[in-house]
Amino acid sequence: MTRGLVIGLLSVLFGLSAVAIAQAQPNSGIVRPTTEPSTPSVQLGAQLFAANCSSCHGIDGSGITSPRPGAGAIVGMGPPLRGVGAMAPNFYLRTGFMPLSSIHDEPGNDRVLFSNKEIESLVEYVASLGKGPGIPHPDPAAGSLSTGMQLFTLHCAGCHQEDAEGGFVTGARVPPLQGLTATEIASAVRIGPYLMPKFPVSQISNAQLNSIVRFVQSLKNHDDNRGGWRIGNIGPIPEGLVTWWIAVPLLIIACMAVGRRYRRE
C-alpha cells in the first residue's frame, strides 16, 4: 500500500475533499511503500514503478502513445520500456533524467530522487519486462586519449562542443558531460537520450567507446580560453548576447565621447 493511498484513505475517513488528495501527491514527488525491504528486489521495483512511472510508461512498461491523464493529475505519455534492459533505467535514474515533472520537459541532470536501493530495484524490475542490453562497464584505462579525442570530435563535438561543455541544438539543450561516470557516458552513447543519435556497436566499437570515455573524463579541468573570456563556452548565443548588450553599448558610448563638441559657456 503506497503512502499516497494511505493518506487518501485517511482523508476520506476524515471527510476531507479530493483537493487534499491532489495536494498529497505533488507533481514531482516520489511515492514509496510504507515499509521498504532492506535489500533491492523486483517486488520493490514493481511497487515503485506502479506508483511513480506507470502514469507515463504504462502498466508493465507498455508505453503510452497519446497524452492521458494519470495519477496525481499528471498528464502521462511516454515510450514503452519493454526490451530496454537494465542499461536505460540505470542511466535515466542515476543521472536524474527521470522522473520528469512534466511530459513536455526535456530530461536533464536533475536531483536524483530515488535511493540507491530503489534504483537497483527499479532497474531489476524494468530489465525483467523484456530481454535487453545490460549495464555497460567501459574501461577508460584501456582506451587511448588521442583516439578518443579524434572520435569525440567526429561523433560528439558537433553538439557537446570540443570541450564537452554542452550547448544547444534547435529545440533542445545539450547537456555538459563533465562529472559523468564512465557507465553514464557509455550508456548515453548506446541509448541516445532525447534528441541524441544512438550509436550502435557497428559504428562505435566498445574499444573505441573506452577511448571516448577516457577523453571526456580527461576534460574535467580543461580550460583553454584563447579569447580571454569563456562566456559559458556554449557557442554563439551567449556570445551574441555579449556583442549586442555589452560591446555595442560600449561602442555607442565611445562614439558619443568622440563626437562631443567643445562648449564655450
Binding site: 502513445t65 497519446s66 505519455m77 511516454g78 515510450p79 511530459i103 513536455h104 567526429l154 563535438a157 558537433g158 553538439c159 550547448g167 544547444f168 541544438v169 534547435t170 529545440g171 533542445a172 541509448i191 541516445g192 537520450p193 532525447y194 534528441l195 541524441m196 543519435p197 544512438k198 550509436f199 550502435p200 557497428s202 559504428q203 584563447r226 557557442g235 554563439p236 568622440v258 563626437g259 563638441r261 567643445y262 562648449r263 564655450r264
Partner: protein
C-alpha cells in the same frame, strides 16, 4: 553609354574646380577671423596615427600571405585589421577635436543681409585655415584608407586570378564513386543503422576537400517526401547530404534523432555555428536558421557487393553561399 556619362560628369567636376574663383579665403580684403594658430603637434599626431594604420593594414596582408592557407593565425589577422581600424579612428578623432574649427552660434532668424551672409561665408573659409599641410594629411588619410581596403580585399585573392569561382564547382562525385568512412573503408549499406548519422567521404579524395564530405543517415523510406525527380536517390531510405552548411560553410555536426517522436522535435540535420536546421525527409530543405538554400543532396546507389556508391553528382553547388550560387542549381543529371 553609362561610362560616357560618368566621364562627362567627371570632366565637369574637374573643370568646375579649376574655374572656381580663387581667393575668397585669403582674398585681398581684411580678415574677420585672425589666422588660426597652426597645431603642428596635432597634425603630427594625425600623421603618426595614419602611418600606424598603414603599417597595421600592411601587416594583415603580410600575415595572410606568409602563413599557409590551412593554418591562418586568426588572432594575428584580427589584431592587425582591428589595429588598422583603431588607428584610423584615432586619427579622425584627433582631427575632429584639434584641427577642425568648431563653433556654435545661436541667433534668431534675421532679415536677409547680403553683407552679413558674405561675411559668414568668409568666416567659414578663413576658419578652415588651421591645417598647414593639407595635402600631406589628405595623402596620409588616403594611404591609410587604401591600405585598409586592400587588407579587406586580400582574402578574395585566394579565389585566384580574375575571381575565378569555377574551382568551387569541382566535386569528386560521379556515378560509381564509392563512399568511404573516415578510415577509408568502403561502407556496406547493411551497416548503416537508423537513429544515428555517419560521416562519409569520396574514395581516394583528400577529406579536406569540402565537396567530398557527406553526412549519411537511414530513414524510413515510407516517410520520405523527397522532391520530384529524386525518387531513386535514397535506396532503402539511406540518404546522403553535403556535410557543409549552405550558410557559412561549417560542418553539419548535429543530428537530431528523437527517441520518443511523440513528444520531441522531429529529426533534423543541424549546423552548430548558427543553428541552421535542415529537414532530411524533404530533401534537405531549411526549416530554421539563416541558411538560404537547401543542403545539396547526393544520389546514392547500392552496388552488387552491397556497398554505397554515388549515382551522380550533387543537385546543388556545395559550400557556403557566394554570388550567383543559385545560378547553376544543377550539374545536369549526371556526369
Amino acid at each position: 553609354m553609362k561610362i560616357w556619362k560618368w566621364f562627362v560628369a567627371l570632366l565637369t567636376l574637374l573643370f568646375g574646380r579649376l574655374t572656381r574663383p580663387a581667393g575668397s579665403a585669403d582674398g585681398g580684403g581684411e580678415r574677420i577671423v585672425p589666422a588660426g594658430t597652426p597645431e603642428r603637434r596635432a597634425e603630427n599626431a594625425v600623421l603618426i596615427l595614419l602611418l600606424l594604420a598603414v603599417l597595421s593594414g600592411v601587416g594583415f596582408i603580410v600575415i595572410y600571405a606568409v602563413y599557409p592557407h590551412a593554418d591562418q593565425p586568426n588572432e594575428l589577422l584580427g589584431l592587425s585589421l582591428g589595429l588598422c581600424l583603431a588607428f584610423i579612428g584615432g586619427a579622425l578623432t584627433v582631427v575632429a577635436k584639434r584641427l577642425v574649427v568648431t563653433e556654435e552660434l545661436e541667433d534668431d532668424y534675421p532679415d536677409v543681409h547680403p553683407q552679413e551672409q558674405a561675411e559668414i561665408i568668409e568666416i567659414v573659409h578663413e576658419s578652415g585655415s588651421r591645417i598647414t599641410r593639407k595635402k600631406l594629411l589628405m595623402g596620409a588619410g588616403a594611404a591609410a584608407g587604401g591600405t585598409l581596403g586592400l587588407a579587406a580585399l586580400t582574402p578574395a585573392l585566394s579565389l585566384g586570378p580574375l575571381w575565378d569561382t569555377s574551382p568551387l564547382d569541382n566535386t569528386p562525385w560521379r556515378r560509381g564513386v564509392a563512399l568511404v568512412d573516415e578510415n577509408g573503408n568502403k561502407m556496406p549499406a547493411a551497416d548503416i543503422a537508423g537513429g544515428t548519422f555517419y560521416s562519409a567521404f569520396a574514395e581516394g579524395v583528400d577529406p579536406e576537400d569540402i565537396a567530398s564530405d557527406l553526412v549519411v543517415i537511414r530513414l524510413d523510406p515510407a516517410k520520405l517526401r523527397l522532391p520530384a525527380g529524386r525518387a531513386d536517390w535514397a535506396p532503402e531510405g539511406i540518404l546522403a547530404y553535403s556535410k557543409i552548411c549552405t550558410h557559412a560553410g561549417c560542418a553539419i555536426g548535429l543530428y537530431r534523432n528523437p527517441l520518443f517522436p511523440g513528444l520531441e522535435p522531429k529529426p533534423a540535420l543541424v549546423c552548430p555555428c548558427h543553428y541552421s536546421t535542415f529537414d532530411p525527409y524533404t530533401g534537405g530543405t531549411v526549416i530554421y536558421g539563416p541558411a538560404g538554400r537547401p543542403l545539396p543532396q547526393l544520389p546514392l546507389m547500392i552496388d552488387d557487393a552491397g556497398y554505397l556508391r554515388a549515382n551522380g553528382n550533387f543537385n546543388y553547388r556545395v559550400g557556403p553561399a557566394w554570388w550567383n550560387v543559385l545560378e547553376k542549381p544543377t550539374y545536369g543529371t549526371n556526369e
